[in-house]
């Protein structure tokens, strides 16, 4: 450092350092230019796209959901346009203050605020959220006069789903509700995320859920230029939405309504099928509920009431209630015996009123027995002993194989719910079933004694009403089974083009016609001279039927006395039928929970349904329980 004070040295060093500074400056500016070339030439396209993404927002236009009508065009689910008051949170400074201000102009209740808060939590980015739905014209006018006070608040016309018939057919139609986390997963699974941008409702159950992607339609888009605050400045392009497809059902809503009325305040189910196509004519589960409650998000009070009600209205008994078939099982047993050659129609047994197996006595309902019983009589008078013996002769696995071919103990594949997992399978007992059902080895073994009561539709047997209706339809249709379905055709909302749901034969059982005829004749006999006689007295058409009573409660040897047993422990009443007997147009199964004897409460409902469907005859009110049948008809 000795040369610090050498002026010449100082100057030359200064100029040297100035030179170095120049080099550094040029290097730094060179670096900047390199960066600019990278951004503006090499990466230009990438940033170009980013800038476009910034400025263009795709605002989805939600399509109109398809309309659901019954077979005659009666509207079951539709959309109506209503004015809603909506807030775009990103454009509003103080939400609370804004809502308070709005409340001075328009009636806003605590539940509206609650719903708004919930929707706000679920909301995606720029959407507006309703604070009030279904504004009256007066309210719209009131707000319009004050709207300058409320930036970010506007009146919008939105479409709402409505079920004009309310409770009628609610288990079949289902309902829509707001999209949840789980629904989103479903939408992703089927690759529909893009199409559901902007959609906030989705089918939750029933047809609304099963045909979600038919009903929804194609979402349209509007390309809008936006600024950094998300404000829309101008529209650049519009791709209109495509309305969802309409569904025309096989269901006859009048028949449905009459049937529901026939049940009165009794719990139960009825499924009526056109046996030649599998089209469902009526699918009843009582009690019903009003699907309109769910559309805007059900209130906690309503939900609690529906969910906690002892009669469980939310359960679709037609596909989710599994019941022992009772004596309605007998025609199927008889058909199995004929097909397998275990019995001939004329082969008779002698019925002493009981059947001994091992050291156990299986009693017949009729004391002293039916005497000499052939196949015809066994069905018409519902003789238990005949079927105890038959079950023993056939063995459990033969029974299971045949009943399985009729569709019992299997999902029918009806078009309800997301997929067929919503449908119950019921229980078709067999050795294999028992092995899988139980864990302990001694429980897994099938005992021959257990087969006996299977023969009269008791024991482990448990089937859903739709399975019984389908099995009845198969017999009515001479062994050809069609997949039960509710939708007749899917109609394109714009072109009107119709896509019919072709009847799908699932299988042909290749039954011998003479065997089917034996069963048919016997079932006709039930309604003419057997347990169904009173219910079908004076019917101008020939019908085939079978009554049934399913034990809910084991009496352990004591005699069942209807009036002495508490209502929820009373037997379930069942009835299966088809008509006209020679060329069936309708096959059905009825179940009345705790209804007692089938002839007493189930058969009269079946009569009403057949009368309406075949004759157009309207009943007056609920089907009356037949008091005489209670006392007389203890032959089942």
């Amino acid at each position: 450092m000795g040369d610090f004070h050498n002026p010449e040295g100082d100057l030359s060093r200064f100029r040297f350092r100035l030179g170095i500074a120049v080099v550094l400056v040029l290097a730094a500016f060179g670096l900047l230019l390199g960066r600019f070339v990278w951004l503006q030439v090499i990466q230009h396209e990438f940033y170009q796209t980013r800038a476009e993404d910034n400025r263009i927002a795709l605002i989805p236009i939600v399509p109109n959901r398809g309309v659901i009508t019954d077979r005659n065009g009666v509207v079951l689910a539709r959309n109506y346009s209503a004015f809603t008051l909506e807030i775009t949170p990103s454009q509003v400074g103080n939400l609370e203050a804004t809502i308070d201000g709005l409340a001075e102009v328009i009636d806003i209740q605590a539940k509206d605020r609650k719903r708004f808060k919930r929707l706000l939590d679920e909301a995606k980015n720029f959407e507006s959220i309703p604070i009030r739905t279904r504004l009256t014209d007066a309210e719209v006018a009131k707000f319009a006069a004050q709207r300058y006070r409320f930036a970010g608040v506007e009146v919008k016309a939105r479409l709402f789903r409505q079920y004009p018939l309310g409770n009628v057919g609610s288990h079949a139609i289902g309902y829509i509700g707001r999209i949840t986390e789980r629904d989103l997963k479903w939408i992703e699974e089927v690759g529909q995320q893009v199409n559901y941008k902007g959609t906030d409702h989705i089918g939750k159950t029933g047809l609304e859920q099963h045909y979600e992607f038919e009903l929804h339609g194609g979402t349209g888009y509007e390309e809008v230029e936006i600024d950094a605050g998300g404000r829309a400045l101008r529209s650049l392009k519009r791709i209109p939405p495509v309305s969802g497809n309409n569904l025309q059902l096989t269901l006859d809503i009048k028949l449905q309504e009459i049937t529901e009325q026939a049940f009165g305040d009794r719990k139960g189910s009825l499924v009526a099928i056109d046996p030649t196509t599998g089209g469902i004519l009526a699918l009843v589960s009582t009690p019903t509920y009003d699907p309109n409650l769910f559309v805007d998000g059900i209130t906690p009070d309503n939900w609690k009431e529906l969910n906690d009600h002892p009669d469980r209205p939310m359960i679709n008994r037609a596909i989710n209630g599994a019941y022992p078939p009772g004596s309605t099982f007998k025609p199927f047993m008889a058909l199995a015996a004929l097909e397998m050659g275990k019995r001939t129609p004329s082969q008779s047994i002698s019925d002493p009123g009981y059947y001994n197996f091992g050291n156990h006595t299986f009693r017949d309902d009729k004391k002293g027995g039916h005497g000499s019983v052939d196949m015809y009589k066994s069905i018409v008078h519902s003789c238990d002993t005949y079927y105890y013996m038959l079950a023993n002769d056939m063995g459990i696995d033969n029974i299971a194989r045949f009943m399985g071919s009729l569709g019992l103990g299997q999902r029918t594949g009806i078009d309800l719910g997301k997929d067929d997992s919503g449908e119950s399978k019921g229980v078709l007992p067999s050795q294999e079933w028992k092995r899988q059902r139980f864990k302990k080895p001694e429980q897994q073994k099938w005992y021959a004694g257990e087969t006996i009561s299977i023969g009269i539709g008791q024991g482990y047997n448990a089937y859903t009403p739709i399975q019984l209706a389908l099995a009845t339809a198969v017999v009515a249709n001479n062994g050809v089974m069609f997949r039960p379905h509710l939708v007749n055709q899917i109609i394109d909302a714009r072109s009107g083009e119709k896509r019919p749901v072709e009847p799908q034969p699932i299988r042909d059982l290749k039954l011998k016609q003479q065997n089917v005829d034996v069963i048919r004749r016997a079932m006709v006999g039930v309604n003419k001279e057997g347990t169904g006689t009173r219910a079908f007295a004076g019917a101008p058409y020939e019908s085939a039927g079978k009554t049934g009573t399913a034990q809910v409660f084991s009496l352990k040897g004591a005699e069942y006395k209807h009036s002495a047993v508490k209502k929820e422990l009373r037997d379930h009443a069942l009835f299966i039928a088809f008509a006209p007997a020679d060329k069936p147009k309708i096959a059905l199964a009825v179940l009345v929970e705790n209804g007692g004897f089938g002839a007493q409460s189930a058969a009269p409902i079946a009569r009403m349904v057949l009368d309406y469907y075949l004759l157009g005859k309207l009943p007056a009110g609920a089907a009356k329980e037949d008091p005489v049948a209670v006392e007389e008809d203890n032959e089942e």
Partner: protein, 370 residues
């Protein structure tokens, strides 16, 4: 007859006697670009171009005035201005008002001032004077004292916190030391010590400062927060492409995606509308400005004028480089305006004080020698 024309001519010549026309033309060119860009950046909301033109007029007057002060007079300002500046910084520390969490402003009732701004000129002035005074007897201790003179205001500004201004003030002082002959081994040693102390310095930084450095490394970690500025300005530059979107046509600008678009981020606005071509022109203008400053420094007759001219010139470079580097995403976000482009009167006055000093040094060099 009185030679009116001749008098007017002489008077006119006298008025512009200390103006360096190359420097004036270059700064006027950059300011013209800046004015047009301020207009584009603010046209949709709160137009600022007229106000900026007024600022420019005031700044040019200041430049004219300063250019007429001979360097000897400037030297006399060195100590008072430096002491005044430090006192103001102390005042800020004691009575300053907080804006956005930083205590940078003094409220004088009529107006607010940012005392750190004064140090941008006072610092190189003071150090250049100091080295000039001890030119003949320069020892290591002089460098140590100079470093202290540098460190005190630097620390006070950094503490406000205003890291951007602290860096500018610190670098201006450092350039004086560099040109005065700070030994290479000391600089290398300092560099090594700084690198070694980096982890410790990291813990000294404020949270938001650390975040800015982290977002520089990967802006996408916080796209809606501190990374937003860098992401949006980078998009603006990149989408500008080779020739830009055209004047007044920048979508990032006019749809409000660029923050601080007429002040610190004005380069993004310019770059989006004029593209790589515009950027090259602007960098070229800055290079000319710095080149002219270097020529003035090289021709400066005394230690004081040499050091001052060199430091002021490199100061212009530092402003421009840090600002463009930050807006294009290669340097962390610090509050440094783009010289002669960004909107703002105070910064312009400071810049033109610097230009005025350069002009004074150049136009008085013969007088000094004589």
């Amino acid at each position: 007859m009185i030679d009116v024309i001749g008098m007017a001519r002489r008077g006119g010549r006298e008025l512009v006697a200390h103006i360096d026309f190359p420097l004036l033309l270059i700064t006027l060119a950059i300011m013209a670009v800046g004015l047009a860009t301020v207009h584009s950046a603010t046209i949709g909301g709160n137009p600022r171009a007229m106000a900026q033109a007024t600022n420019m007029g005031v700044a040019l007057l200041v430049m004219w005035f300063v250019s007429r002060l001979p360097p000897q007079k400037l030297m006399r300002f060195a100590i008072p201005l430096y002491v005044f500046g430090v006192l103001l910084l102390v005042a800020v520390f004691l009575f300053g008002i907080k804006v956005n969490g930083a205590r940078r402003w003094l409220d004088l009732g009529v107006t607010r001032i940012q005392p750190a701004e004064i140090m941008k000129i006072a610092m190189p002035l003071m150090l250049a004077w100091y080295f000039h005074k001890y030119e003949a007897t320069l020892r290591a201790r002089h460098f140590i004292i100079a470093a202290l003179l540098l460190a005190i205001p630097f620390a006070m500004i950094a503490k406000q916190p205003d890291l951007g201004t602290a860096l500018l003030v610190g670098s201006a002082g450092f350039y004086v030391l560099f040109f005065a002959g700070l030994p290479w081994k000391v600089m290398i040693g300092l560099g090594a010590v700084t690198a070694g102390a980096a982890p410790f310095l990291w813990t000294m930084l404020h949270d938001y400062q650390r975040k800015r450095i982290l977002t520089l490394i990967d802006p996408t970690t916080d796209p809606r927060g501190s990374g937003y500025h860098i992401i949006q300005s980078t998009i603006a530059i990149g989408s500008g492409g080779p020739v830009g979107k055209g004047y007044l046509n920048g979508t990032q600008t006019h749809l409000e995606f660029i923050p601080e678009k007429h002040t610190d981020f004005i380069f993004a606005v310019y770059s989006e509308e004029w593209g790589l071509l515009g950027n090259a022109l602007l960098v070229f203008l800055y290079t000319l400005l710095i080149g002219r400053g270097m020529m003035i420094a090289s021709a400066a007759p005394t230690m004081f004028t040499r050091l001052l001219a060199g430091a002021i010139t490199l100061g212009f470079f530092t402003y421009a480089f840090i600002n463009m580097g930050m807006v294009s995403g290669i340097l962390p976000v610090v509050g440094v305006p783009l010289p002669f482009m960004s909107y703002g009167g105070t910064a312009l006055v400071t810049l033109f004080t610097g230009i005025g000093i350069l002009m004074s040094i150049h136009t008085h060099r013969m007088l000094v020698k004589r």
